[in-house]
């Protein structure tokens, strides 16, 4: 379905840190403040608010009280790593329905000793996975990656090229925590964490926050001369959920892609912001989105230059694996990078004449499958 009159009008980021004892709420406040400075919006003009979160005390009404927001619409964004994209979709629905005209979507993470932010493991993860001594998401993605490598002949060099390209992209990004150039040898020689997943496949948890501002077209035109339109968006939750023998190498993004690209040709996308908790996740999404056939992600990566200067720019700011993953702001990071590119604010890593971007979110690793949540949206600059 095509969206009619919904725009993304601004964003606010904080700096990222591996070691900081700053309070969690301060990241939310700073990300919002930066978004207010960019858009010129005052707090009174924000009438919608969504915290993307999976645990208390981040409930939207709680944070609203802490930060003094008076609102007509709130949402607890769920769906894990797909939460940012899903929250933008929900806000767009509510804006189209006329409930509000300016929504702030916020996410972040901090090493805040006063906040018990530990997520309760789902019962099946606790009773049927953790008891075996697994390594968290690293092992769950290792189980997926081995299938991909064995079924399709995908090589470590092909998977590693994604990590190496993204590190190159992080070079000119001041927000990125990992900017030192990396070679494919560095990738291959990084230590094994949960075979075949190695250190440079993994994201680095950090503190930080992100905010994205969604608005009606009418308000967007008052707020900015660079409104970025939400063209179309879709999600698939619980793909293969009742299948006891699911295909581990196919994700719900295959369905999401069909929806998106029934509205617009995938060849018209100028840059891709693909949720990258692991390089193999990026490869599988490229396949599922139809950029190549299932299992051909390896040769596809071989044939393309994934850097911001290349023919197929992916994660032009370095992605989560180079910037760092500030909790569920990891999903927001991809939206913000797409906005920077489409607004022409990406500095040295600017993709030439970027007009359209695809942003994905994935999350919630499910028992013996892969991703329980998948969502994506297409953004466009219209002059």
């Amino acid at each position: 379905m095509l969206r009619k009159k919904v725009c993304l009008v601004g964003y606010g980021s904080t700096e990222y840190s591996r070691k900081s004892d700053r309070p969690l709420l301060s990241y939310y406040a700073e990300a919002m403040q930066n978004a207010m400075a960019q858009t010129g919006l005052t707090k009174k003009e924000i009438n919608g608010f969504s915290m993307v979160t999976q645990a208390s005390p981040d409930y939207s009404p709680y944070v609203a009280e802490q930060l003094g927001l008076e609102l007509d619409w709130v949402l607890n964004g769920d769906c894990g790593g797909a939460g940012a994209v899903c929250a933008i979709r929900r806000a767009a629905d509510a804006i189209e329905a006329g409930y509000l005209d300016v929504a702030f979507i916020v996410a972040g993470n901090a090493f805040d000793k006063n906040v018990s932010h530990q997520r309760v493991l789902e019962y099946q993860r606790a009773n049927y996975v953790d008891v075996y001594g697994y390594g968290g998401p690293n092992t769950l993605f290792a189980l997926v990656q081995r299938r991909h490598m064995e079924e399709y002949g995908t090589t470590l060099e092909q998977i590693g090229k994604i990590a190496v390209s993204q590190r190159f992209n992080a070079g000119p990004n001041p927000q990125a925590l990992l900017r030192t150039p990396m070679t494919i040898e560095d990738y291959l020689n990084s230590r094994l964490i949960s075979d075949p997943i190695r250190l440079f496949d993994c994201v680095m948890p950090c503190s930080g926050g992100e905010c994205v501002v969604v608005a009606s077209e009418e308000r967007a035109k008052q707020i900015t001369d660079k409104p970025i339109y939400l063209v179309t968006d879709a999600e698939k939750i619980g793909f293969q959920a009742s299948n006891m023998l699911p295909d581990k190498t196919v994700t719900g993004m295959s369905v999401v892609g069909e929806h998106l690209f029934s509205e617009m040709s995938r060849d018209n996308i100028d840059l891709l912001a693909i949720y990258d908790d692991y390089p193999i996740a990026v490869m599988m999404q490229l396949e599922d989105l139809g950029y190549c056939a299932k299992g051909q992600g390896g040769p596809f990566v071989d044939d393309h230059d994934l850097t911001f200067a290349g023919d197929f720019p992916v994660n032009t700011g370095g992605g989560e694996i180079s910037v760092g993953q500030a909790g569920l702001a990891g999903g927001m990071l991809h939206v913000v990078e797409a906005l920077r590119q489409l607004r022409g604010e990406a500095g040295e890593r600017q993709v030439n004449a970027a007009q359209t971007a695809l942003v994905t979110g994935i999350g919630w690793l499910s028992y013996a499958r892969n991703l329980n949540t998948t969502a994506a949206l297409i953004l466009e600059r219209r002059s």
Partner: protein, 134 residues
Amino acid sequence: MAGKSLPAVNEIDREFWEGAAKGELRLQRCRACGKMQFFPRIACTDCLSGDLEWVPVSGKGKVHTFSLCRVPRNRAFMDEVPIYVAEVELDEGVRMVTRIVGDDRDQVTLGAPVTVTFMETEDPDIKLPVFELA
């Protein structure tokens, strides 16, 4: 220091763990539609019927995928690394996350036939179903 992770046995999955303690692998089967499922749930994932029964299964299957975990989430498992975490496809048509054990576990390959065995834990009442190369 917390010990190795153990299941928090609940009303949904008590029969699974009681079976495992006796050396019997059990799965849930829906009496209404016949579907076999794992992990244990409160309702059938095909027809949503709550009329589920527990049936003993062969304990035979083949390896669908595996990983050598060197950094367990719960560091209490560090004395066992690398841990051969695996998914096994049972002959009855469900997949389980488990572990491959046995002296020849480094010979594991995708598709390798395996048989269930039960591993002692720090709790004398809890045994974990794990698999050996057949």
